[in-house]
Symmetry: C2
Subunit: 390 residues, 2 copies
């Protein structure tokens, strides 16, 4: 096992969902306050830098976001504020920079966060903004919105491996069932069975409404500490022991494969190598299920099963809460919600809660090693982190 | 003098201006190819990460930009790509992250760049997009565009210190004169005297057309190396010996002062302390002259003169090419142009060219220590770097 690079000492997550009347800065503040509440011995004055992921200034007609969050969290102008953008992987990249900032010895404590405010706009506008994560030259202009891009991957996967709509539907059923144990989830309280998924309206065949993640408002943040300082401020510590980032062409049309994300494979290899662990060592994972097919492909690219066997993995129940490798216990992007810039850090928050035994009704027993997997767009960016219980 | 944190071994700058028919990715590629041309012993395969500053996905309806530049520069998916956004300070912050990435020992070589494509849109749309660098809640909605925000600072400075429109006009005259020696400058070939500045139409009183920087297309990039590896690949090396970042409230209304930027003062103090130099040690500087008043305020906040004496500094000719502290020999944002995301790195490129004796017709003799100063919006972010000839 690799040595701790940085240690999470606290996390905070806003309620995800339609947060009517609240702006990104208020959601960020909500997450930050929760994050501070559980570490009373820690003072915000000790924070040296903020790395915040946020996808688009179009949602609120507001760029230049980092200093806004510093201000709304009461942090001084001497704190270095950095906004990172990598589409839906924005805060996964922010987390990686935060870990590197601690590992480099330049900071003792950094705040890492992510946020997006989306639901105040109509769906067509949001779809149009999200499309900026794909190629403006050859995808956007031809009407390839994200459901369409992932539908192309889904049909390729079905054709090559025999993956079924029922297997994809089971990803939705599982993640909705998990979200029903997570009061912060957008879809908390909504019961979804396989029949409801399969009978929902087609968005981009074979993807139906319940195969798609949500348009949500939300924020998440965490405090990273130098490992040797972590226990001074928190009894519940999770160490980041590996990270990896990978890229591929922005356009799906230029990729080697439609059934696998090269960016994920690159990111995962780096993270596993750095952490000194194998896929079979992972006890629990949050993966980027922007569409159900994306979760199935993630199983394969992360090495939880062989290529082409992702559909069978969920069919056998292995990724359910009581399976061998529970995935997306938070509810995932699918049912917890997907405020795009917040997603990468929200995944890390769930792994922190699970590894420290604070995941409440959805707690999985005996989990020591966790993984998060955050993807930008259709896979031009991927970030993987590996965590161990402190 | 502080020790070298990272070393610039090559720079590349696209032609700035109206680059009709070219997109951000093509401009970035143009800068990158120039950057590679001067270091034939260096291979792009050695680049470990890209930090790129770009302000807004609105200009080209394209977010998720880092992987696009990796792809268009022929860099592998294993290179870590990070887009940073801090309004007009985007690539200043990207440069700081690049220096930190090298200083931390995590990478041997990183590519740092900045880019913006703006001129294909009409001026009202561009002004609206640029306004996203100010506060959406209380500035944008009240019509406070950037000329108006800086006009408020200008009138406050005139009222408090007696600064004159002629003094501001001299900043424009100086920077246009410098740009006429820089073939890459947007305004190359345009003669501007004080009468032309003072008689130009009012944009937001007291700022007239020639007090304002330009809407430009352009890109800039540079290669940062570990100091002990730099000379292996380049005979022309400039070391970064200090950096600092500072912030203030996003809204001008919440600031302590309208005549000084606290963010600049914080950033400058950090950078001077790290570099172990005083303002009087700086031989040459590129400062953020988005409006002429901004350059005058920068002189004061950077310590080139006392508060209130910035107007007199330029009036005495001290910041002209033959003065005691030449400022914006490139032509500055004012006349070289201001493709917002590119500006921070373009400033570093000019200092590199000056310190290595490669600045051509605008070369200043005997310069050893340089400084760059990059501001986001009306001053919610500022970044300062200090450089020495290698």
């Amino acid at each position: 096992m690799g040595k701790p690079l940085a240690s999470i000492i606290s996390v905070g997550i806003s309620k995800f969902g339609k947060r009517v009347g609240l702006s990104a800065r208020e959601l960020f503040q909500e997450a930050f306050m929760e994050c501070m509440d559980s570490i009373p011995k820690f003072s915000p004055d000790m924070i040296g830098a903020l790395f915040v992921g946020q996808m688009s200034g179009m949602f609120e007609h507001q760029e230049h976001n980092a200093p806004i969050y510093l201000e709304w969290c009461g942090l001084d102008g001497g704190v270095d504020g950095v906004r990172v953008e990598a589409a839906c992987a924005s805060s996964g990249v922010a987390l990686k920079l935060g870990v590197m900032a601690i590992a480099s010895g330049l900071y003792d404590f950094v705040l890492v966060g992510g946020v997006e405010k989306m639901t105040h706009l109509d769906t067509v506008t949001v779809t149009d903004i999200l499309a900026t994560a794909s190629d403006s030259f050859l995808e956007q202009v031809n009407g390839l919105t994200f459901p369409a891009l992932y539908a192309l991957m889904a049909t390729a996967h079905m054709n090559r491996y025999g993956t079924t709509v029922e297997q994809m539907g089971l990803v939705a059923v599982k993640n909705h069932s998990n979200a029903n144990l997570n009061p912060k989830a957008h879809m908390y309280g909504v019961e979804v069975d396989l029949d409801r998924v399969l009978s929902s309206r087609v968005i981009a065949w074979p993807l139906k409404l319940y195969d798609c993640s949500l348009i949500s408002d939300g924020a998440a943040c965490l405090i990273l500490a130098k490992p040797d300082l972590a226990y001074k401020y928190s009894d519940d510590v999770v160490h980041v022991v590996g990270f990896g980032q990978g890229h591929d062409s922005i356009g799906l049309y230029a990729r080697d494969s439609l059934t696998s994300l090269r960016a994920t494979r690159i990111a995962a290899k780096k993270a596993y190598d750095m952490a000194g662990v194998k896929p079979s060592d992972i006890d629990i994972a949050e993966v980027h299920d922007c569409f159900t097919i994306a979760e199935i492909i993630a199983y394969e690219d992360l090495g939880f099963c062989n290529p082409g066997e992702g559909g069978k993995l969920v069919e056998r129940g292995e990724t359910f809460r009581d399976g061998s490798i529970p995935v997306n216990t938070s509810g995932g992007l699918k049912a917890k919600g997907h405020p795009v810039g917040a997603t990468g850090v929200a995944q890390a928050c769930e792994i922190y809660l699970q590894l420290t035994g604070k995941a409440g009704a959805r707690q999985v027993q005996d989990v020591k090693v966790g993984l998060t997997h955050n993807v930008g767009g259709s896979g031009a960016t991927a970030v993987v982190h590996i965590y161990v219980r402190g």
